[in-house]
Amino acid sequence: MTIAGLLQRSSFLSRTLLISSLGLAILVGCSKTPVGDSADFDAFYPPEPGGTLIDAMAGEPSGLIAMIAGESAASAIASNIFNSLLKYDKNLELQGELAESWKVSQDQKTITFKLKPNMKWADGAPLTSADVLFTWKVVTDDKTRTPYGSDYKLVVNAETPDALTFRVTYPQPHAPALDSWAGLQILPKHILQGQDINTTTFARHPIGSHYYKLEDWRNGERISLVRNPNATQGQARIERLVSRFIPDSASQFLELLANNIDFMNLNPIQYARIFPSRPDLSKKIALYKELGNNYTYLGFNLKHKPFDDIRVRQAINYAIDKQELIDGVLLGLGEPVASPYKPGTRWANSSLQPYRYEPEKALKLLRDAGFEDHDGDGILDRNGKPLAFEILTNQNKQREMSAVLIQRRLKEIGIDVTIRVLEWASFLGRFIKTGEFDAVVLGWSLSLDPDQYSIWHSSQQAPGQFNFIGYSNPRVDKLLEQGRLELDPEKRMKIYHEFAHILQEDSPIVYLYAGYGLPAIHKRVKGIDNPAPPAGIGHNSYEWYIPQPLRRNEISAQ
């Protein structure tokens, strides 16, 4: 209370302040020394091996055996560790990976793969057809907890006539077969034989055969992969791949800005608004654009009125301005969609056009279906019931924004839409599986094979299966069945084009857009194919390199 008293107190206070500020100064002063922003990233540097590529992931894999783990984070990392029999080249044509060549028999029911000779696992053991057979046995074993067994279970006979030959026989020609063999990561028999694949620690200590092997996995922090000297496909250039687990995208972006990560998928605003306004960023970070193999749609529950009426579905299709969605949600970084396939591929029927934005046509169709604004409240109604429904979607910013735009456009022609955003497990468990929904905004991530039997065939409507909208069209059923049997690409294409045509007329879903993937990669990483080929920029990631002068200072082993 007296000045003297305060001074005496302040000695205690100032002592505390002094210590804390000293501590802070030391903490702050001892910071890392980064590669300065002054290096010239645009100059040419010849390829050389070495360096570390750091990227960020939002989620952590639950394990590195892709067939068990299931989530995309797991397969992303596992695909650097394991090989499949086949792979896709830059133009999305099938190519051999472990297989040197393959032959389809006359009756189209048998495929014979010839493996490359002298292949080894990362631990030095030989890689032979026995490993392929073993992997097939595991994925088709009923005790294996994998969601992906169905394609491989179709095989009635699998054999290995010799160490370099693997032969499978199907009961009838199965067109998606080759694609399925491009997706099966081959596991080592000599390690996994006799172990329970579901609980083996191999999932956390894998041994593979591809460019990289696991170096270290710090739970919750990062996974680092290092080059595999025994890699079957040759040597990748970059020595080390590190994936850091950073859940928040705002934090990821800050790390990118601070040169702490080299790779990040941007959202449209970062790509189209932030980067152009910051020339200092473009000096050190390069932006790429690749069309993903997915599309976003508004799906109707065909078992709920009024969506059983084709006029209502088509009307809603005409009432939605898809270009506005692409401009608003994706800032123009997307393509319109008219077939259930990635635009520009041979499976997409290029003669089809999306429904144009024609609200008057929509109103006319609705009127034909009996909807009028009888009570003058601005909402159309029929037999006293208003035309109102609820759109469900999950916690995905772009889908939410799309739903908001759809809501506005539909309101303009008198349809009352409410939106509900749900957490994923509740979404699936409470609404999709039970069929208790009106409409959803969701996306399909597609495989490279055009078969869509599980999504559109009328036999796939049980709870938990993928025809959850309840679509049933005998002509489509027939086409889908035929498509699985037809191996000739030209004929197959015609089948799926007709399939897309029927879907377009029926309009069981409204295609909204196919968005671009927008990777941002630090310019220290060279060798990237730009513009992106159909397979995306990642197709030749093993050829990327980081020149010596541009590498980070790394603390290495003593």
């Binding site: 008293g5 969601p147 919750g220 922090e221 850091r244 859940p247 699936l428 599986k433 299966q465």
Partner: protein, 339 residues
């Protein structure tokens, strides 16, 4: 005293069972389970495999049966294995026949959260003591007002907003501190002084932000406690006796004002193991908050139950310690009647 202790410890068992039962029931009210979330919507996944998974985890049995199974395992302190993170034990590490050790999830996440919370609490107390004392001694005058305003602003700032701004300032604009994560690359190869340094640098921002929001509560508590005590008769007596102001304030008033602080500390124990899921998300720190949140979204029942039960147990123990510590520290209670 012993009787009191025994009675409290005795009460903990039914309380824990009650808490775990309530948590278990609430969890099962949720739609969906691990089979819905895993590979939930991949067209290649099949319903049969999901059904098999359900059977494996006993998810198709009645809720009370599942609870009974869980309770039986808890008896041996076996909290089970996570549904979502394969082969990872929920609580403590397992060593398989090859000698490979798989660390437990809580085993790894808890120390991180504890460290952040303890550092934060330490920082709070270091700041709250002088601030609270000054506030009390200058009651209703400028220093008091300024300090009150400052601590309230600290409480009122939305944490993730401040976090992102500070991360940008200290990590992007200037290269002072790391932005996110717990350890730098190459941490494994550092010597232990460098390791400690590295960890402290990464935790500086999360600890600071956590402390800033907790500062208001404790410093006000110190202030009001001091005010309480300063107006008591024995303080007037001490002054009348001619003791120096310093002795009066620090020797008598502060000591007595701090007694309730012990109770507060005991009551903040549940907070100690509850990591902030928001801070851990922003700073990419693998603590208990993120563990719990991810487990909820994935319907990872063993992990959820493990965290809730261990958390409840620690809370009850913490409360018990706080009560005992207070009783021991306060001579009136020690000698007198225990309620």
């Amino acid at each position: 005293m012993i009787k009191y202790l025994v009675k409290r410890l005795f009460w903990m068992v039914p309380l824990l069972i009650g808490i775990s039962l309530i948590s278990f029931l609430i969890m099962h009210l949720a739609p969906g389970d691990i089979t819905t979330t895993e590979a939930g919507f991949n067209p290649k996944a099949s319903e049969e495999s999901r059904q098999k998974l359900r059977e494996l985890y006993h998810l198709d049995e009645p809720v009370l049966v599942q609870y009974g199974l869980w309770l039986k395992r808890i008896g041996t302190l076996d909290f089970g294995t996570s549904f979502a993170s394969h082969q990872r034990p929920v609580f403590w590490q397992k060593t398989d026949d090859k000698g490979d050790v798989t660390k437990g999830m809580i085993q790894e996440a808890l120390p991180v959260t504890l460290l952040i919370n303890v550092l934060s609490l330490g920082l709070i107390i270091m700041a709250a003591l002088p601030l609270g004392v000054i506030s009390a001694l200058t009651q209703n005058r400028l220093p008091d007002r300024a300090i009150t305003l400052f601590v309230f602003v600290g409480f009122a700032i939305p944490g993730f907003w401040l976090a992102l701004m500070l991360m940008y300032w200290t990590g992007v604009v200037h290269d002072w501190l790391p932005i996110s994560g717990l350890h730098s690359l190459g941490y494994e190869h550092m010597r232990w002084p460098a390791k400690i340094w590295d960890t402290l640098q990464h935790l500086a921002l999360p600890v600071f932000i956590s402390a800033l929001s907790g500062l208001a509560g404790i410093s006000l508590f110190v202030r009001n406690g001091m005010l309480d005590v300063l107006h008591q008769d024995y303080i007037t007596t001490a002054r009348a006796k001619g003791l120096s102001e310093n002795t009066v304030v620090y020797g008598h008033a502060l000591r007595n004002a701090l007694l309730p602080l012990i109770t507060i500390l005991g009551l903040s124990i549940p907070g100690l193991i509850g990591g902030s899921v928001i801070a851990e998300s922003i700073f990419a720190i693998p603590g208990m908050g993120k563990l719990f949140y991810d487990a909820v979204l994935m319907r990872d029942f063993p992990v959820i139950m493990g965290i809730l039960t261990i958390g409840a147990a620690l809370t009850l123990i913490g409360n018990l310690f706080a009560d005992i510590a207070y009783a021991w520290a306060d001579p009136r209670v020690r000698r007198g009647v225990m309620q």
